[in-house]
């Protein structure tokens, strides 16, 4: 297996008293070794749900209702979605780590930062204290934090500092794959750059693969190799980041790019649709908002077409040939 992660036909359903909500449907993608993959789409389209499903961190209401996610970790390939608890614990943080969305609340408020950095290591192997401490200072250095940070508590750190602690934490075990959920959102531009640089460094020095979730298309363009665009629980377009951004094939990608006023600025909210109901069954989910919707869009599920430079998109139109 050459890819570190292969996701096929993932489907996630949230159950509630009133109705079930299929938040993610037919999602397939892969991440190569040392590859940086971007996942973009407006808020509520199912990005977090997708990666929480991979990490088996869905809230109680959420269930994986279909799909597979093969992770090629230290103990060979295994399906993250069906592996037993014991082996799941074994690959967590060692093969696959996460920088969670909203790092604001991601640190235990009553445990010093250093301990939280360390316990992710000692849970997986017998590491001596000096060894762990050295690794901690190495990583704090990498993310631009002072060593004294280890003795501090979450409430003594700024948002940016907490975010960087979370990134350091994710890299502690040199995992093969790190998922960063909006790791750069809500940070000032300088810290954003620093975070981006840390990700690139980790890839170059350790060969770490990343899935980067965000809606700053400008930052994505400079950071990731490949990009996947999500809309209403489905991936509508994938491909090399430059190809997709310069020559979007799917009307939604186009809309997303059009709403970015200037590269490097935070993307404004695309006219909010969100997932109000389950993704439309039958026909194209985007047709209601698509400027180029045709009759066929309501009747048939759009075909998956290949992009010339690699990648795919799902649309009845193949406009640019």
């Amino acid at each position: 297996m050459s890819n570190i992660l292969e996701v096929t036909d993932l489907e996630v359903t949230y159950r509630s008293r009133s109705a079930d909500l299929v938040a993610v449907q037919d999602v397939s993608f892969s991440v190569g070794r040392g590859e940086l993959v971007g996942l973009v789409g407006e808020s509520g389209c199912g990005k977090s749900t997708t990666i929480n499903a991979l990490l088996r961190l869905l809230p109680r209401a959420g269930r994986v209702t279909a799909g597979m996610a093969l992770l090629d970790g230290h103990a060979g390939p295994l399906d993250l979605l069906s592996v037993d608890e014991k082996r799941l614990r074994d690959v967590r943080w060692r093969d696959i780590a996460i920088v969670p969305q909203g790092a604001m609340n991601s640190l235990n408020p009553v445990m010093p930062v250093g301990k939280q950095l360390a316990d992710g290591v000692t849970a997986h192997r017998d590491a001596s204290t000096p060894e762990v401490n050295e690794r901690i200072s190495e990583l704090l250095n990498l993310v631009g934090l002072a060593e004294e940070t280890t003795g501090r508590y979450a409430h003594e750190l700024s948002g940016g500092m907490k975010q960087r602690v979370c990134i350091a934490m994710a890299l502690m075990n040199r995992p093969a794959l790190v998922i960063a959920d909006e790791a750069t959102s809500a940070l000032d531009v300088i810290v954003q750059r620093l975070v981006a640089q840390t990700i690139l460094d980790a890839r170059d020095k350790m060969g770490t693969s990343f899935i980067v979730i965000g809606h700053d298309i400008g930052l994505m363009a400079q950071l990731v190799d490949r990009i996947a665009v999500m809309y209403l629980g489905r991936i509508v377009e994938t491909g090399p980041v430059i190809d997709v951004l310069t020559d979007p094939k799917h009307p939604y990608t186009e809309l997303l790019l059009a709403s970015v006023p200037e590269v490097g600025k935070e993307a404004p909210a695309v006219q909010s649709g969100g997932l109000v109901a389950s993704p439309v069954t039958g026909g194209c989910a985007f047709r209601e908002r698509c400027p180029e919707a045709m009759e066929v869009c309501a009747a048939e599920t759009p075909p998956v077409r290949r992009r010339s430079g690699g990648g795919e998109f799902a649309c009845h139109l193949d406009r640019h040939g």
Partner: protein, 333 residues
Amino acid sequence: MRYVRARLVRFLFTVWLGATVIFFVPRLSRSDPTDAIIGQLLSSGAGVENADAIIEAYKQRFGLDDSIWVQYGRYLANLFRFDNGYSVVEFPTTVDSLVLSALPWTLGLMGAAIVISFLVGNLTGTLLGWERTPRWVGRVLTVPLVFTALPAFMVGLLLINVFSYNFGWLPPTGAYDPSVDPGWSVAFALSVIEHAVLPVTAVVMVTMGGWALGMRGMMITTAGEEYVRLAEAKGLRSSRVLFNYQVRNAILPQITRLGITLGLIASGFVVIERVFNYPGIGMRLFRAVTRNDYPVIQGVAWYLVLGVALAVLVVDLIYPLIDPRISYRSDSD
């Protein structure tokens, strides 16, 4: 040290407010307690030879001819010196020595009950709120919670009836067997424990449910916290996630609540001691009530206020040690 100062001020304010209420309330009613004391003394034939001395002592102490404010000032000053005057029934025993001799029993019984209840209740709540608890365990654990709504003395009476009257397993009254010599002996210690079982059980049964339900709610809240999910993502042992991440945070509001509910717990204890004839200060209060021993009533009431305020102060002062967000330097509450 702003935190410490704020807590101390609140402590003093509580104690002052309690003392003030205890001083003024009796004087608002038509019957003057001092008159009542004297009246009682004169009507009871037993203490006639002492009566003059007592009346003199009281007149002097209350300065009956002084204005109420002077009396109030003197009252506060006396409290400061732990001088609550004399018992009228057991003159010349002082109120303070009466309280002091009863205090160890109350402290022991109450301390044991509060600690056991807090531990058992929070452990139950932890298991009830933990996602990994097997369903049947959860079901079983909800059973003891049915006593939650009831007053402790009720459960106490039921326990006495079943375990003392019906089965004769445990002694229903007193703090120890009078045939055993009080002292540092195993026999005495066993006797004390044996006598404490029923009252402590009664209090634990009715108070642990509150802790359990509160803890269960907090467990559900913390389970949704990002840092708990991240701890799981780190592949930590589930026991570590549970204790170091979830419980460690969930317990904090419970400790705050402990401070708030101490007053209620103490109130319940007075009645428990009466039901079990336990020689603590609750029993002193009851006996003073039945014998119209006003100075003792007021004195015990004041010591209850003081004791609870002190316990609350201790909880408040310990709190920053377990919650780094509250430091001795900050003045947040």
